[in-house]
């Protein structure tokens, strides 16, 4: 490591010496500026468009905040997308059967139940979370298809739709408040609470953490529950926004969620995580999606461009020795 290098000293002064670590923030600004210039005439900077990006990103961000904890503890949760779809269906059916409060309870209970299942299989039976949650992905989707008969379940409850996704206060969408509120809590819990420390310690060195008296199994159990519950909440937000529950909601989101966290600087192998980075990562994915659509690319081209940009960003953020 060159320490007395004058260029490096200058970079340190400018706060750019660790640019690889901060690539997500730099990248976000750069991409935003590029779009602002090239897509100005297509309404990119229109406040409504920018708020749309937030609306489209909020669910990914909510799941990715929880995923930050899962990845930080050295585990992974592949079932989040399918669980969101399942919860959207259970919440819609429960509202129909017993009203709004019953619906909210049923939706969150769905996530909790899946989390307990994932957690028990992972920590007590010892199936790696990769496999547990991969299997759960199929189970959750199957259950959602089965109970809804693969049809959309409408939600006729304006209060619910306003609170979970559709509403806005002035021009501020409720979804933005969900995202920022949960982000704030997530950031605080990860950085400032004993639970957050234990999560990072478990992912950073499981043996050392266990030898230090940390119940690492319980930590993993809890992060998996947090993740599934957050996924259920995201599904409820989808349902509120679209005023219906469908098993397809959230399909494939797990990849965007993991990408958002990793883009933000959370380690796939545990021990390091940042909720702020994760939210910016999620926003960046939304930004790219939005920009590519405004550019008028076809869906196939969007997929290719999006993949390329994510690979570039993650490659740049890797430390090289």
């Amino acid at each position: 490591m060159p320490t007395n290098d004058p260029t490096r000293a200058l970079l340190t002064r400018l706060g750019l010496a660790n640019w690889r670590q901060n690539i997500i923030y730099i990248g976000f600004v750069v991409i935003f500026l590029i779009f602002a210039v090239t897509l100005a005439d297509k309404g990119f900077l229109n406040p409504n468009n920018l708020l749309n990006i937030v609306r489209q990103t909020a669910m990914i961000a909510v799941m990715a905040i929880a995923m930050t904890f899962v990845l930080s503890s050295g585990e992974i949760d592949l079932s989040v997308g399918a669980v969101a779809g399942l919860a959207s269906v259970t919440v819609a059916m429960a509202i129909d059967a017993g009203g709004m409060i019953f619906g909210i309870v049923a939706g969150l209970a769905t996530g909790l139940a899946v989390g307990v299942f994932n957690g028990l299989l992972t920590t007590h039976i010892g199936i790696p979370s990769f496999l547990t949650t991969l299997a759960m992905m199929g189970i959750a989707k199957g259950v959602a298809m089965w109970i809804s008969d693969t049809a959309a379940v409408p939600i006729i409850e304006p209060a619910y739709s306003w609170l979970f996704g559709g509403g806005s206060i002035g021009i501020v969408p409720v979804l933005l408040l969900w995202m920022l509120g949960l982000g704030l809590i997530g950031h605080f819990v990860l950085k400032r609470t004993t639970f957050g420390r234990r999560v990072l310690a478990t992912g950073g060195g499981e043996t050392a953490a266990r030898y230090s008296g940390i119940d690492t199994a319980s930590v993993k159990f809890r992060v998996l529950i947090i993740s599934s519950t957050a996924a259920a909440l995201a599904g409820m937000l989808y349902a509120g926004r679209l005023q219906s529950g469908r098993f397809q909601l959230g399909e494939g989101d797990e990849l965007s969620v993991i990408a958002a966290a990793v883009l933000g600087g959370t380690s796939l192998f545990g021990g390091y995580g940042t909720v702020v980075g994760t939210i910016v990562g999620a926003l960046m994915i939304g930004l790219i999606n939005n920009g590519l659509i405004l550019m008028g690319l076809e869906f196939s081209q969007q997929l290719i461009a999006r993949g390329g940009i994510i690979i570039l960003a993650v490659a740049l953020s890797q430390k090289r020795s």
């Binding site: 310690a201 050392a208 953490a209 230090s212 008296g213």
Partner: protein
């Protein structure tokens, strides 16, 4: 100096001359000469830090020497590298074996050199036949079709050696080959080595077991503090002379560690007939307040298992553990911590620290609840704890926020100890607390251990370095096969004939006595097996 057979014109299997090696500011080797002949078993001896592993790593190309020449089978190695060493015929058999458990013996032996069929496909049948020929030739009883995972330790070792031989190894380096082996496996290994010797293979044998050296080695080279002390035929080196050369004159400062008189208090930790799953076996031991009890013995003697049982990492299946007179149930590390027992574990990197996390996070890992209220970590409290331990232990770090991996080994170990000091336990279990630590920090850590006794702690300490145990402990338990083979009072190991002022020689004399007790325990162990 006792050189034999080096004047003739024939080339040595290994001729290393004037090897010098620095690591940073530390000089590990001072112009060491090391010659090994074809067809001999050459023992390489020395204490920890004597330079054994450094010279072996120079030989197999892992380290490039600062000065000196390396000749292998008459060929000078111009640019040392692991590949060059291997091509010249050097094979090193590691303690942690390099076999892949999920492949068969034959597949392992020919890994990366697989036999192919005419179509370019892997031909396991031919590999098995060739392996069988090789095993028959060397009279080794291992089934080439068996999975390595199903082999015993001894068979694995033989497979490993056959693998090396099949790659035309002319110089075989065995580093502590017998630690994992039962007595009968060791017999088989020795027979096998004699056969290889007869075929002209040069064998370098590293072991702490003097009795083995005496049986298998033809010559020995003894290193101490990075210098060669002597190379001589075994016939000129009785065991006590060897030990004398290995221990040598102490320049470690360990003899200077003050041993202020500390009042031994009431029993703090009592083990009553405690057994683990395999080891330890039936251990009864009491540690008092203000007392350091050392566990001596070879690797695999059950020292670490005992430490792990006390700390709740391995379950104890029989017996009773009492802390301050009250029986405690210890089923996991958390129970041990609740009983105010702290373990400073053997593998610092994986068990002691979270390397990528900051010094402050590591120091507060065991006291998270104390530095937080309502689940929220109080930053100021964390900083206070961290700064206090950094100051108290003189941890050298750029700041409390630097990652622990930026610290030196000694300072990393201080972080592990500081983590537990912050939790203020009554009982410390230290497993090889000075392993891989430079000499200066070593005496600092031993001094720290002595200081803990003044605070009324009870300490169990494991070390492979006898001088350290002698410097730190009040009593020393010699372990053998999971059982305490003898308990010795530190005072009884002193030679009353030596004046107390001569701390250095007293320490040396005590070390020889302790070494003798360990050898005795080994002999008894060997004898029970023979019956």
């Amino acid at each position: 100096m006792g050189q034999s057979g080096s004047v003739s014109g024939k080339s040595h299997a290994v001729a290393m001359r004037g090897i010098t090696k620095h690591f940073g500011g530390v000089q590990a080797l001072f112009g060491v000469d090391f010659e090994v002949e074809a067809g001999e078993v050459h023992a390489l001896l020395g204490g920890n830090g004597a330079g054994k592993s450094t010279i072996l790593k120079v030989l197999n190309g892992v380290h490039v020497p600062d000065e000196g020449t390396i000749e292998i089978c008459g060929k000078t190695i111009a640019s040392p590298s692991p590949e060059a060493a291997r091509d010249a015929g050097v094979a090193m058999i590691f303690q942690e074996m390099s076999l892949i458990p999920s492949l068969t013996v034959a597949q392992n032996v020919f890994l990366t050199r697989e036999a192919k069929t005419g179509f370019g496909l892997i031909d396991d049948r031919t590999a098995e036949r060739k392996a069988r020929e090789l095993f028959d030739l060397l009279d080794v009883d291992v089934n080439p079709r068996a999975l390595v995972a199903d082999l015993g330790a001894g068979q694995k070792q033989l497979t490993e050696i056959v693998k090396a031989i099949s790659q035309d190894a002319r110089v075989l380096v065995l580093d502590e080959p017998s630690t994992a082996l039962s007595v009968s496996d060791v017999e088989r290994l020795f027979e096998f080595l004699r056969k290889l010797k007869a075929q002209g293979v040069a064998i370098i044998y590293v072991s702490h077991r003097m009795d083995e050296i005496a049986r298998i080695a033809d010559r020995a080279t003894i290193l101490r503090d990075g210098r060669r002390v002597i190379t001589a035929p075994l016939s000129e080196l009785p065991i006590d002379t060897m030990i004398e050369h290995i221990v040598g004159k102490k320049s470690r400062g360990l003899s200077d560690v003050a041993r202020d008189h500390v009042e031994i208090g009431e029993p703090l930790l009592e083990l009553v007939r405690v057994s683990g799953q395999h080891k330890p076996v039936d251990v009864t031991l009491t540690v008092h307040r203000g007392e350091v009890v050392g566990l001596a013995g070879l690797l695999g003697s059950g020292r670490s298992s005992l430490a792990r049982v006390i700390a709740g990492i391995e379950p104890h299946v029989k017996g009773e553990i009492k802390v301050a007179g009250t029986p405690v149930q210890i089923d996991g590390p958390q129970d041990a911590i609740r009983a105010r027992i702290a373990l400073v574990p053997e593998a610092r990197a994986t068990q002691g620290i979270i390397a990528a996390h900051s010094v402050a996070s590591n120091l507060t890992l065991a006291v998270l609840d104390q530095v937080s209220s309502g689940g929220v970590v109080n930053r100021r409290a964390v900083e206070e704890v961290a700064d206090h331990q950094i100051g108290h232990l003189a941890i050298k770090t750029a700041s409390r926020d630097h990652a622990v991996l930026t610290l030196s080994g000694g300072n990393q170990q201080k972080v592990v100890i500081g983590k537990w000091l912050a939790a203020d336990p009554d009982i410390f279990v230290l497993d090889e607390p000075t392993a891989g630590i430079d000499i200066g920090s070593k005496s600092e850590i031993i001094r720290l251990v002595r200081d803990l006794t003044k605070a009324g702690k009870g300490i169990v300490m494991i070390s492979s370095e006898l001088s350290e145990l002698l410097a730190a402990c009040d009593r020393i338990v010699v372990m053998s096969e999971g059982r305490p083979a003898g308990i010795y009072d530190r005072h009884d190991l002193d030679d009353p004939a030596l004046p107390p002022e001569d701390a250095m020689h007293r320490l040396q004399a005590a070390e020889q006595k302790l070494q003798f007790h360990i050898q005795e325990a080994l002999k008894r162990q060997g004898a029970t097996h023979a019956n």
